[in-house]
């Protein structure tokens, strides 16, 4: 899997996480995404999507085995997504979590709480 393919898969999974949060909050969320990245050498660092993808991409046939995603905070300006790469030894695509099949390492989590900042400013 090339980086572009990986990035496209990552963006698709981020969109799923945003959609899940929108359905829960009954709000349209900002498309401006910030990633809080845990793992892959980061300790909850804030970054944009492309930077996170570069950090999470290891190679064409090597992947972090599990990469969790969940929206944890929303504001009018941006949507913050928790992303966490597991510490398992990286493996092939088939060795990733891959549930549902095709999702590869990406796993959607449901947050107990989504912090909503300035709720009145959110688009309804």
């Amino acid at each position: 899997m090339t980086f572009d393919e990986f990035y496209k898969l990552f963006q698709g999974e981020l969109q799923k996480a945003i959609k899940n949060a929108e359905e829960r909050l009954h709000k349209t969320l900002s498309p401006e995404v910030k990633i809080v990245l845990h793992g892959a050498g980061h300790f909850g660092d804030l970054m944009d999507t492309l930077t996170a993808a570069k950090e999470l991409y290891i190679g064409e046939d090597r992947f972090y085995r599990i990469i969790d995603l969940a929206v944890i905070k929303v504001s009018k300006k941006e949507t913050t997504i928790f992303v966490r790469a597991s510490s398992h030894r990286p493996g092939t695509f088939d060795q990733t979590w891959n549930n549902p099949p095709g999702s590869g390492p990406f796993k959607q989590l449901i947050p107990k709480e989504i912090i909503v900042e300035k709720e009145e400013d959110l688009m309804s």
């Binding site: 969940a70 928790f82 510490s87 549930n99 796993k107 989590l109 107990k112």
Partner: protein
Amino acid sequence: MSHSGASDNPYRYTGQQFDALTGLYSLRARYYDPALGRFLSRDPAEPLLTLPRALNRYVYVADNPLNAADPSGRQAFTEYSLITEEDEESAADFYVIGAISLGLLPEGDFALFAAGLPLGMRIALLVVTLASVAGPAIAPEAYLSPQSQTPSTSPIATPTPSDMNRVTLYRAIGPAELSEVLTTGTYGYSPSGGGKYFAYTYEGAVRFAKSPFNANVEMTITSIDIPSEFLSRGYTFNDVGGAGWSIHFSDIVLPELYHVMSPIRILGSP
């Protein structure tokens, strides 16, 4: 281990080679000076942190020469274990045998019982006996009576006066992390900084351990108690296809977690 009387036999105490010219025993990894009663160099094997005597890496068999030998110059326990990457199972048996030889475990039926335990439990058995000598770094009762543990089925266990405001969390761990638990009393730190997840229920940890993802890994279920207020230091998620309701603590928070948590209980195989 000093020797008196004339002898031309170069092989003496525990069959090790004595060099008359230097007056030293060669124990392969290092030399032992019988006059000083110590090795001339540090033990190359990492010491068991639960056994303070082993932290002095110049002493012989943790100062227990009547019950132990160290023909390699490495730790007595390591020697007994005969450990190799290919043979971890038998290594665990030898760990137990080593502990029996050191007088840390009783012989007889108990040894047979120990040999019948799974790998993780056999290693745990050794550590708990070491803890009984050195002071428990990890709750001893957790090792020997996994069946007696009553896993919580609710996200927050019903508190009793003694554990008011404490929450029990569960974590499924693989062999490497089990080793970390047994040697440090903590879950360690993830090499990539990803932090650690803990399931709110025993069933959740078991479900993750038994997922196809872990099909080829020998998993062990563990648990800890933490102050309920500490839950605010992590993010709680529902991992629907995995461990269910779980909390993530970042690597930055882990030192605090390890400070406030109870000793890790090892509940056994899922």
